[in-house]
């Protein structure tokens, strides 16, 4: 995670062969619009040619980016490379589903410059995969990873899910062990979050399954962290683990550190820092954080671009107070924590910090308040301890 001064570029690929019942990201299952989407995205990128000139990360997320044929991906990347400069060591991540990863596809992605694969494994247990409505089996998951390694992918990330109904600590440990057998450079371990409005959320409301419950979730979280750190992984964000600091996801770090990023595609979010005047006469220029987001609707997105308009649905300029709150909440999600000078503005910062240290939730290391393992568990509440 050496260079973080460049912005990152995110592409949202809003297509899936089928919707997973737990997912609340925007995607559609009608694949007939992929070509139109490719064209629209290229158009959208053109809007930002002047505003962003270089990136050191490219992240293809979704949806299911591995749905893209090598030809479609090639067309996209070629256009982006015409518009923007990418550093020579740029991290190029593609999210892939195991059932898409044929040997040919893996090789083609590699040829196109994808150097990091984030594979949506979720579990190596077929019962879990059925519950999650995934299209692949545990066997396919293993094959996909073997294929990626065989093709020479040196930066593999595995997405895993835990705290699934009926999952025991032993089951989860087994899944982790299988994952580690591939010596992944990176692991994202997400607790199942049952979101309202998803099919899984409805099934929960109907009482069709019993969620793991807070106690179990907490226990599994701590287990995961201990288990992986014992094996030498660095627990650098609530749900993310890296084999050595250099394997942290450079793109995702930008989200947590207020490094600008441009998001293209339906529902994508962007962040930028612009110089501005704070309004008072003679006041010095200040830096404003600006966030904007696209409409999360493929048809609307296509229509806007067909009409030559940017598909932006909303925009906000952060007040200093909002900026500060974000620094705390994003900072406390990461092991790096929050710089003490960012806490000093709060009237109660010393007592609040003292309380958190005493409770074993935060430790102060080299001028930064860093969440402990238990601190991660309650990271959402940490920023609210600080106030005036």
């Amino acid at each position: 995670m050496s260079s973080n001064s460049f912005p990152g570029l995110y592409l949202h690929i809003p297509f899936c062969r089928s919707k997973c019942p737990y997912c609340d990201f925007y995607s559609v299952t009608d694949l007939s619009l992929v070509t139109a989407w490719v064209a629209a995205l290229i158009k959208e990128a053109a809007f930002y040619r002047e505003k962003f000139d270089g990136f050191d990360t490219l992240y293809l997320g979704g949806g299911t980016p591995s749905l893209l044929t090598p030809a479609q991906l090639e067309a996209l990347l070629a256009a982006l490379r015409r518009y923007f400069h990418f550093t020579s060591d740029a991290e190029v991540t593609l999210e892939a589903n195991p059932d898409d990863l044929s040997r040919e596809k893996i090789a083609a992605y590699q040829d196109l410059g994808v150097n990091r694969l984030s594979v949506g494994i979720q579990s190596f247990n077929d019962r879990d995969l059925t519950f999650l409505g995934r299209r692949h089996t545990a066997r396919q998951a293993v094959q996909a990873l073997e294929g990626a390694r065989a093709a020479g992918f040196a930066n593999l990330s595995l997405d895993l899910m835990y705290a699934l109904p009926g999952q025991t600590e032993k089951d989860w440990r087994e899944t982790l062990n299988v994952a580690l057998s591939f010596q992944p450079e990176h692991l994202s371990c997400y607790q199942l979050t049952v979101e309202a409005g998803t099919p899984l959320g409805e099934r929960k409301t109907r009482g069709e399954f019993q969620a793991a419950g807070e106690e179990m979730e907490g226990a599994l979280f701590l287990l995961t962290s201990e288990f992986l750190e014992d094996k030498g992984y660095f627990h650098y964000e609530v749900s993310n683990f890296a084999w050595g600091k250099k394997n942290c996801c450079r793109h995702n770090l930008k989200y947590w550190r207020h490094v600008p990023y441009l998001g293209l595609g339906p529902g994508a979010h962007s962040f930028s820092i612009v110089d501005g005047e704070d309004g008072a006469q003679g006041a010095p220029y200040i830096k404003n954080g600006v966030r904007w987001w696209n409409q999360a609707d493929l048809e609307g997105y296509l229509k806007a671009l067909a009409a030559g308009q940017a598909p932006v649905a909303g925009r906000e300029t952060l007040t200093p107070e909002q900026f500060r709150l974000e620094i705390l909440y994003l900072g406390f999600r990461t092991r790096r924590g929050v710089a003490l000078e960012d806490l000093r503005g709060y009237g109660n910062w010393e007592t609040a910090l003292g309380d958190l240290e005493e409770a074993g939730l935060v430790e102060v290391v080299q001028g930064r308040a860093q969440p402990t393992r238990r601190g991660f568990l309650v990271a959402d509440g940490l920023p609210l301890r600080f106030g005036d």
């Binding site: 995110y10 949202h12 990201f25 997320g61 997400y190 607790q191 199942l192 979050t193 807070e214 106690e215 979730e217 907490g218 226990a219 979280f221 609530v238 749900s239 989200y255 947590w256 990023y261 998001g263 994508a268 979010h269 962007s270 962040f271 966030r291 987001w293 906000e316 909002q322 709150l325 974000e326 909440y329 994003l330 999600r333 109660n348 007592t351 609040a352 309380d355 958190l356 409770a359 939730l361 991660f376 568990l377 309650v378 990271a379 959402d380 509440g381 940490l382 920023p383 609210l384 301890r385 106030g387």
Partner: protein
């Protein structure tokens, strides 16, 4: 003067006092039905909502009687609650007679009796009126029998009416004229007028409600109040119709108002006597006393930033309610606030509600208490109404607390339950009186502290609404008092401390610990709640830490969504109070006071 009648209506709560007043106003002033509001004299929202009268009010009704003569009937409406018994007594002192109203379906109740005694004390003519005779459950014979046996009134003299249906109103009006004597006194004597209430007018200052006994008062006169320094020049006098109506003068026998550049109602003590500076009357009207608060509690703004607006609100509020006393108080847990003294629990509720409603305040009110007396080893005596000022126990010789005589009237079948709650609350020297078959009048000597929190609610529950309650302050008695502290993670929440009898301490401590456990949200660390007497822990409860609140995934760059949620939560926290590292919501302070379920 012989055409004036000054009267009041006295009744137990809900027996129809305001409805009868409405009818009399409508009948005599010929107000069309559509202009008539219910509870004409109860002008405050809170009076209308609760169906109670808080402030005295008055109205002059013109009435042409059957003898063909025109009379001026001055109706003085009195508050209907024991908290305001002093105001009632001053209003009654301004009358020559009362309508004693009894609900035909409810019969005689505790406040009926208390009010009757009060009227008899003032030597007033009593006209018994049986109201609500239209109700199917009306029991005329039963109520008449009660009147005879329990009130020693001639049941044949009772007027039957239904204020709601407008039945018997003519008879009531005729009885006022024929049975109540005209006022005595002389316009030639030095001025002597009794203040029975005062209201604040933004433009005119205090509007003094008074009854003139002797002499004449008119604009330009220089007045003084017998128990208060200073003189005032009369700007306006008049009577109350539906609004204030200026008159050239008020003379002996009149009931009306005086505006004399008195800035606040605090300068006009209820019960004080008004006279002329130049030619004062020989002696004041009897019965004046300083109103003393009996229930105390502290109020704090929910948000410390609102302290100054609370100061302002209290000042404004007090312009119109001289009975409220307050002084600065501060709490480590709640910051700057005020210790307030109230006439009783209803008064406390009214003040709290009006401050919140009319002055837009969000308040935290602490557990109400009474004023205790401590005799110290060095011989000094100190009065303490605030647990924070509890003397160091090593210096205390004797502790005393105020006792009351509680009078409860209930159907006999509930006596067991009534006895139980009174004994639980340290009632002693019980006496029982059976005024009529099936009815008991029970009296107990009880600590005042035991009736100020949820006693009345409990009584109503155990008697299925039939029990009624009234009390008189008796004296101070030696009592084994202790100070109960509540600790949250070892930090004392001073606003929750209270002075209690040793035998009740554990019960209270358990209750507070349980309530707080329900109300304080789980936090990142374990919270221990303890009740302690000095260093001794007598109750405890624990709120476990939540294991986890973190969102697994951060929505691919959508930082806004979660931040907005945090902003909302942060705004909500402004209504929390920090005690050490623990956030206590306002609701927790309120919950401690709530009545037990069941």
């Amino acid at each position: 003067m012989k055409n004036i009648r000054n009267f009041s209506i006295i009744a137990h709560i809900d027996h129809g006092k305001s409805t009868l007043a409405d009818r009399l106003i409508q009948w005599t002033m010929l107000i069309p039905e559509r202009q008539l509001r219910d509870q004409m004299l109860d002008t405050m929202d809170i009076e209308r909502e609760r169906g109670i009268t808080i402030k005295s009010n008055t109205i002059t009704l013109p009435y042409i009687a059957q003898d063909g003569r025109e009379y001026e009937l001055n109706l003085i409406d009195t508050p209907g609650h024991v908290d305001f018994s002093y105001e009632v007594s001053r209003a009654l002192a301004s009358c020559e007679g009362v309508l004693l109203l009894v609900d035909a379906s409810q019969g005689v109740e505790a406040q009926t009796l208390a009010n009757l005694y009060l009227a008899l004390e003032h030597g007033l003519t009593i006209i018994p009126v049986i109201n609500k005779i239209d109700l199917p459950q009306a029991d005329l014979e039963g109520v008449k029998a009660q009147m005879e046996r329990e009130l020693a009134l001639d049941p044949d003299a009772a007027i039957l009416c239904s204020a709601k249906e407008g039945l018997g109103i003519d008879q009531v009006l005729e009885a006022i004229v024929s049975r109540i004597p005209p006022p005595a006194g002389s316009p030639d004597q030095p001025l002597s007028a009794l203040i029975f209430d005062a209201q604040y007018d933004t433009f005119r200052g205090a509007v003094i409600y008074c009854r003139v006994f002797d002499g004449v008062v008119k604009p330009g006169d220089i007045l003084r109040l017998m128990s208060h320094p200073g003189t005032y020049k009369v700007e306006e006098v008049g009577v109350f119709r539906l609004q204030r109506e200026p008159r050239k003068l008020l003379a002996a026998g009149n009931v009306g108002y005086i505006i004399a550049g008195v800035k606040t109602v605090r300068d006009t003590r209820i019960g004080d006597t008004i006279t002329h500076e130049a030619r004062p009357c020989a002696q004041a009207q009897p019965g004046f006393r300083e109103v003393k608060p009996v229930v105390f509690a502290s109020v704090y703004p929910v948000s410390n930033e609102d302290y100054l607006t609370l100061v302002e609100a209290l000042e404004k509020y007090q312009l119109n309610d001289a009975a409220l006393v307050y002084q600065k108080d501060s709490s480590a847990a709640l910051g700057q606030g005020f210790r307030c003294g109230f006439l009783g629990l209803l008064h406390l509720e009214i003040v709290q509600e009006r401050l919140e409603r009319e002055f837009g305040q969000s308040l935290i009110m602490t557990v109400p208490g009474v004023q205790y007396r401590f005799v110290l080893k060095d011989g000094h005596t100190v009065m303490v109404d605030n647990p924070q000022h509890y003397p160091d126990p090593i210096h205390i010789q004797t502790t005393l607390e105020p006792f009351i005589k509680a009078t409860i009237i209930t159907p006999e079948r509930f006596l067991g339950a009534v006895l139980k709650i009174c004994l639980e609350r340290r009632g002693v020297n019980s006496r029982f009186h059976y005024p009529a078959p099936g009815r008991v009048e029970a009296s107990f000597e009880m600590p005042l502290a035991e009736v100020i929190i949820d006693f009345y609610d409990r009584l109503k529950t155990v008697t299925q609404g039939y029990g009624s309650f009234d009390y008189d302050l008796l004296d101070y008695r030696t009592s084994d008092l202790v100070k109960l502290d509540i600790l949250v993670n070892s930090e004392k929440v001073d606003a929750l401390s209270m002075i209690v009898h040793r035998c009740r301490a554990r019960e209270w401590a358990v209750r507070v610990c349980d309530r707080l456990k329900e109300e304080i949200p789980r936090q990142q660390f374990k919270i221990a709640i303890q009740g302690a007497l000095g260093g001794q822990i007598i109750a405890r409860s624990t709120i476990t830490a939540f294991r986890k609140d973190v969102t697994a995934k951060c929505y691919g760059g959508d930082v806004t969504r979660k931040r907005k949620l945090l902003e909302k939560q942060r705004a909500g926290k402004k209504r929390m109070k920090m005690v050490g590292a623990v956030e206590i919501p306002q609701s927790a302070f309120v919950a401690v006071l709530k009545t037990d379920q069941g």
